[in-house]
């Protein structure tokens, strides 16, 4: 029996090795994704290109421009002479924000202690716009406070007030990489195993070689195990790759137990391999298998909390997210890597993926056996 499984594994390995380009892609894929996610995914926007329309040209207006420049949020790269010019630059996307200081600004500020400026913000990207919006106001507030202290003679060190000492846990620098890399582990595990298992089985069906396998004494479950084993190995290799690069290159700290992480990943693979086998029993062509895999991967990507916080989604989607297994796995991986928590805290999530794994895998293998017979 074990030798029969071994032969299926051997055969699958030959398939993989004969197609070195796919193998290379499988191994390079996680690294590339890691680098892209590590460097490209950042929502902390600084140095937004911005233009200035200074219609006032006084010492006061220059002070304000200096304050905006010093904030690091805005790169005041260009000075324009008219609103049309400003509009054109923002239309072109060469500037994301524009500071308009009207004539009389300095005069008003000196005489009445009050003045008004406009900040134009390109709202297309809400994340960028929100940052720019609040930065614009914070800078002006700080300027106002200085002004008030000057005029009223208040001591800024000794103002009445409630001070908040914020302590950020788990990821004190709030680095995106620390958040993305644990998530990527879950995503890659699901992506590689589901898609590859489905494709590997459907290919045999499309080419008609599955019949040859059926007439051999191999039992269905031996066939399944043998076919998925190489992909499990590749998935774990990818997991190791991500962990090593994440820790050594990106400096992501692993606070919890790596052994626990590996053990729970195996549990999670029951679900993702189950999806792959299930898809292979439905799809007749590789193209269909690819689409069906997407059908499980895309909702997982968005409803698993990989990119976007679940809390910010509409209630209906939050309910749907409860049937997305990746949701639980991401809580587990982030819990172990970032929070350093163990089974005691993660018991609920572990139970959930165990149930998903058992249900999906047994349904999948039953359907698979039926299709063979």
């Amino acid at each position: 029996m074990s030798s029969r499984i071994f032969y299926v594994i051997y055969k699958e390995f030959i398939h993989i090795v004969r197609d070195p380009r796919t193998l290379a892609i499988m191994l390079v894929f996680p690294v590339m994704e890691l680098i892209l996610l590590g460097y490209a995914v950042t929502t902390d926007v600084e140095h937004l290109p911005a233009v200035v329309l200074d219609q006032d040209l006084t010492a006061q207006s220059r002070d304000l421009i200096e304050a905006y420049r010093a904030s690091n949020y805005f790169d005041l790269t260009r000075y324009v002479n008219s609103e049309e010019e400003l509009r054109r630059l923002v239309d072109k996307g060469q500037a994301r924000a524009g500071l308009i200081i009207p004539a009389g600004y300095g005069h008003d500020l000196k005489k009445e202690g009050k003045a008004q400026v406009s900040v134009v913000i390109d709202g297309t990207d809400p994340t960028v716009a929100t940052t720019a919006f609040s930065a614009a106001q914070t800078i002006a507030q700080a300027q106002s406070l200085e002004l008030a202290q000057e005029i009223m003679g208040l001591d800024p060190e000794n103002l009445p007030g409630v001070s908040v000492h914020t302590r950020v846990w788990y990821n004190p620098d709030m680095k995106s990489v620390n958040f993305m890399i644990p998530g990527l582990i879950g995503l890659i595990l699901q992506f590689l195993t589901t898609l590859f298992t489905a494709l590997a089985i459907v290919r045999e069906r499309e080419q008609g070689t599955i019949e040859q396998l059926i007439v051999t004494p191999i039992r269905p479950w031996e066939l399944i195990l043998g076919k998925v084993a190489p992909y499990v190995a590749i998935a774990f290799f990818a997991l190791g790759e991500i962990l090593v690069i994440g820790v050594f290159w990106f400096g992501v700290p692993i606070h919890g137990s790596v052994t626990l992480l590996l053990a729970l990943s195996v549990l999670f693979l029951l679900t993702t391999l189950g999806f792959g086998i299930l898809i292979s029993t439905i799809a007749r062509t590789q193209q269909e298998a690819m689409y069906l895999s997407f059908l499980t991967l895309i909702p997982a990507l968005f409803l698993g909390g990989f990119f976007f916080p679940l809390e910010a989604m509409p209630q209906v989607l939050q309910w749907i997210s409860y049937v997305v297994p990746l949701r639980y796995m991401l809580v587990i991986i982030r819990g172990i890597v970032l929070k350093g928590v163990g089974l005691r805290i993660l018991a609920g999530e572990v139970t959930a993926i165990a149930i998903f794994g058992i249900v999906i895998f047994s349904v999948a293998s039953r359907r698979f056996r039926k299709r063979l017979e």
Partner: protein, 372 residues
């Protein structure tokens, strides 16, 4: 020549129709992506689950908790009795933030007009943590302002200062659906059609039917054009589908010229067909074609400004982004749909796209002919 091309087109349409499930998927996939992106792609978090450890239990401490509650950012769900309990709730993820008001808070506020509290934030998700961080400070600042007004008997509103009037252009409500939908249109044009093309040719190779096509009097250009026509139609249909749902369901306004959008969309399609053909000359099997497309898809998604602003990325990645055609198409779709600008603003993006189309198609055609 046209007759032979059309014959190939007919053959491809038969292939497509014979596989109704894949056909359904071709049309359903964009809708699913649209709905998911339209609803889930948002980081403006409100109502964060919050635990309070009130060791002070005075009127002042209750006022502070009420101020946090009233801010809409924090849902005070738990009152705990110890720091351990608070830590456990945050460890479990039941609470994302915790407020600790120490004993003596109320007294020091009444006697010295100053007091401090601790605010704990789960930083594992930076976008959520940043929001919580600034909200925590904003609420405390508002409380401080009230206190200043009371202590000095002044009206802060009437105080000297600079009044900033932010005006948000193009997407005044800062809705993420408005941001995502134009990007999605560009992405569907770019990625879906290149997968279709690559797969349809790789399938012929894998099944060996490409040899049969070669021995016919068909020229390679006829073969290519004939094969891609159905997918151009499918992609244009997808584009219209996404536009309609975006406008009618998500209320995204189209401020620019729809015809210009379709015309430039066609240009983007040519680029992606070029990429698909090129991939098909590299890939020997469908599996390879699928992975190759995936492999390209990732840089496309991340380095095009689709999700994340290019300005925030390291310089090297910004340079790489110039060779990603999706980058230009996204500027175009967002420009036309959200900004309502025309060719006078977008001409350079259109030129870049046209160059990509010419280069990719030429490269693909040369390689394709060689292989045949």
């Amino acid at each position: 020549m046209i007759r032979r091309t059309l014959a190939i087109t007919r053959k491809e349409i038969i292939h497509i129709i014979r596989d109704p499930r894949s056909l359904t998927m071709m049309f359903l996939m964009p809708v699913m992506q649209l709905i998911l992106l339209g609803y889930t792609a948002t980081t403006d978090v409100e109502h964060l689950a919050t635990a309070v450890l009130d060791q002070d239990r005075t009127q002042q401490s209750r006022e502070l908790v009420d101020a946090y509650r009233a801010s809409n950012y924090f849902d005070i769900l738990y009152y705990v009795r110890s720091e351990e309990e608070l830590a456990r709730l945050i460890d479990e993820g039941q609470a994302k933030t915790g407020i600790i008001i120490p004993t003596g808070y109320g007294r020091s506020l009444t006697s010295e007009n100053q007091a401090s509290v601790a605010f704990i934030i789960d930083g594992s998700m930076p976008s959520v943590a940043t929001t919580a961080f600034s909200a925590a400070h904003t609420v405390a600042q508002a409380q401080s302002t009230k206190l200043i007004e009371k202590v000095y008997g002044i009206d802060v509103e009437a105080q000297p200062g600079i009044d900033v009037r932010p005006r948000v252009w193009y997407n005044p409500d800062m809705k993420s659906a408005s941001f995502m939908i134009p990007g999605l249109i560009a992405m569907i044009l770019q990625i879906q059609s290149s997968i279709f093309t690559a797969l349809s040719i790789a399938r012929e190779k894998e099944e060996g039917t490409i040899e049969q096509l070669i021995v016919t009097p068909l020229r390679s250009i006829e073969l290519i054009v004939g094969k891609v026509i159905p997918y151009i139609v499918v992609s244009l249909f997808n584009l219209i589908e996404v536009l309609l749902i975006g406008v009618i369901w998500f209320g995204v306004p189209i401020n620019g010229n729809v015809l210009l959008l379709l015309a430039l969309g066609l240009l983007a399609l040519l680029v992606s067909l070029g990429i698909g053909l090129f991939n098909s000359t590299i890939a020997g099997t469908q599996q390879e074609a699928i992975f190759l497309t995936f492999f390209l898809m990732l840089p496309f998604i991340f380095l095009s400004g689709f999700f994340f602003p290019l300005e925030a990325m390291p310089k090297v990645l910004q340079w790489i982004s110039y060779v990603i055609p999706l980058r230009y198409m996204i500027v175009i779709t967002r420009g036309i749909i959200l900004k309502g600008v025309g060719l006078s603003i977008l001409w350079d993006q259109a030129v870049a796209l046209a160059l990509f189309a010419i280069v990719m198609l030429a490269l693909a055609a040369v390689r394709f002919r060689k292989q045949l």
